[in-house]
Subunit: 390 residues, 2 copies
């Protein structure tokens, strides 16, 4: 655990089949005006919308709606949401949905009263908020698992005109004040979305795991999270209503990205930068953009983090290292990972997501280069990895 | 992750070699009167006292001292501390020390203004505190690792007259508001105290691990924490100033008992009940009371949690299960654990701690029986386990 760091996470979690009851404990803490934020309306079909509205009404709240949040929420939508939040004089933003809805709610939270173009302020200039910034508190009811947005300050917004998809990680005063995590709410999610979410979780862990050379407790914890995720994902793919599997996946998602396992690590995030660049050009599902670029990326950087990739193979994929070189062990681990990804049904190439060779130069230009992993990529290397991902 | 639960942990952690600087960020949030709580004065020898006092003065605080907190803080001392806190009109209790000092500070926090005998109220009747209870906020500067008290609501107090050592787990409004974790502050601790703390951590994890039958992510995380602890403890015992090892141990201690890994588990805590009963009769070091009773206890309950003990052997102690029965694997795991405990120098019997056969009836009577583990013990079974521990 090298370096100095602080840890602080004020989000209160309500977990389980009765988790929605937590709203009755939280809502009285806020004023009357609630901006109810959600996506394309699936929560109306599965009944979650009705349940939430009934609880809001029972708690005497004025409900203002902001629906239609898209899977990759845009800067245009953000401007619209800020206007709605101001008109509603919102005392609380209640996000009901997946990571996109939570990300968007946090963006509105810090932007509604910021007095300027939030895209420029937060996603281009990366300005911070502090205790004096006027923030509208956010609460979440999670209906889709993966991003970890329910317990962190992350917020990814896409600007179509600029072909940029950029995340800002805000400090703990922007974290959701509370999040409701009922694994049953994720049952009706289409399989494609479910497995994309599962790989998003895995990628979050790997982005943090494949960094640093020290003997860090976080690595041991991440190996445990990965093993639990691999095990539960195999069950959930076969039986999407296995409560135990879905609840483990939901819990892992939260802890993969609530800052805990990042402590003492440099962290990489290059797979996300590649995936987000693809997303900005194709609007493909986030988790699938990550899965499509992961194997070429990891095989490319393997020589620069050989010992860690060998450890990964043994501790996560249970590769037997006897009589093998570190390189053989490391490759065997990545091969096991690839086979598992195919088995659960992930998209393994960018072509399937609508990308093609003509788009590569543009995607390369949209890809931010990170410095916390085992290799700082050049533009040529990014091109090579993306081409291998087609 | 069966059942419904909430997770909330408001403690802010400052970690690393510069962690004490965090005090400058935290102190301005509180009033002028600080009750500085510490133990037998080792912090005056190693210079931590001077550093803390300098920061308090630089922040314009009035310092009121409450020293002499003993390793097993007593109800008499608690009454004295409450009196001091009231006289000081304390706005903040700053605990500088190990788990006992933190536990004691939390006890004073909830008791100073409770208007009755705190031992009776909190440790016999187990009354809860709520948001209306007048609490003096607590901050911690940790100098000894093990109890996890720096990020939870736990508080163990001993009543010598009643020969009882009882813990109360308070809600999150009693958690320390902040804790300063500098691994270097633990360097000067005598080896006996260090390894007792290491086993306290291991026991905290095992009390939670050996419960429940479900497929819980917490178990995977605990296996990671255990493997990191085993690895770092072996280094720290040989080289107590290995920063990496000591920092991992400090971090594991915090996460072993800040409620995270307990989520979705029933949890046992019988080893702690046995150890605390021994402590009430002998005043022996807490971690050593746990190590002395652990092997007889775990071997006794092994048949009732066979699959979990076999999993423990494979995943934590890397026992090769091929061609062996679950029972053989499970016993091999406990044997490996026992050998490791001896190797790092733990006390493996109660005789060495000052207990004898004549005291056993009294210790049995002081032992609370828990219901979350694999076997609810009878009085006879407790006697048998304690006798085997002599």
């Amino acid at each position: 655990m090298l370096g100095n760091f602080t840890y602080s996470n004020p989000t209160k979690l309500y977990f389980g089949k009765e988790a929605l009851d937590g709203l009755n404990k939280e809502l009285p803490k806020y004023g009357k005006n609630v901006l109810l934020v959600y996506g394309g309306g699936s929560i109306k079909k599965n009944g979650i919308y009705d349940k939430v509205v009934a609880i809001l009404k029972a708690n005497g709240k004025n409900i203002f709606e902001d629906s239609g949040v898209m899977p990759n929420p845009t800067s245009d939508k953000l401007n619209e949401g800020c206007e709605r939040a101001r008109t509603a004089k919102a005392d609380l933003i209640l996000a009901v949905g997946g990571g996109s809805v939570c990300d968007y709610a946090k963006a509105v939270s810090v932007s509604a009263h910021c007095g300027e173009d939030p895209w420029e302020k937060y996603y281009i200039r990366f300005e911070d908020v502090d205790e004096n910034t006027k923030i509208i508190p956010v609460g979440c009811v999670l209906t889709m698992v993966g991003t970890g947005s329910e317990m962190n300050g992350g917020s990814v917004i896409t600007n179509h005109a600029q072909k940029l998809k950029i995340g800002h990680v805000f400090g703990d005063n922007v974290f959701p004040k509370f999040s409701v995590l009922n694994p049953e709410f994720t049952y009706t999610l289409p399989k494609y979305q479910m497995i994309a979410g599962i790989y998003d979780i895995m990628s979050h862990i790997l982005e943090q795991y494949f960094s640093g050379e020290d003997d860090n407790t976080s690595d041991y914890v991440m190996e445990g999270l990965l093993r639990s995720l691999i095990h539960s994902a195999e069950i959930a793919v076969v039986n999407p209503t296995d409560y135990e599997a879905r609840s483990n996946i939901m819990w892992i998602a939260t802890w993969a990205l609530n800052t805990f396992v990042a402590k003492g690590k440099t962290t990489d995030w290059e797979v996300h930068m590649l995936g987000q660049a693809v997303g900005a050009h194709t609007d493909a599902t986030h988790g699938m953009t990550l899965s499509a670029v992961s194997m070429p990326y990891y095989r490319y950087i393997l020589p620069y983090g050989l010992k860690k990739f060998a450890r990964y193979a043994v501790n996560v994929w249970r590769v037997n290292p006897q009589g093998k070189t570190d390189e053989e062990v490391a490759h065997e681990g990545l091969n096991a990972m690839e086979a598992w990804m195919k088995k659960i049904g992930l998209v393994m190439n960018l072509t399937e997501l609508g990308a093609n060779e003509q788009m590569l130069d543009g995607i390369v230009k949209s890809t931010l280069v990170m410095e916390g992993g085992y290799k700082v990529l050049t533009q040529d290397e990014i091109y090579t990895i993306l081409k291998q991902s087609l």
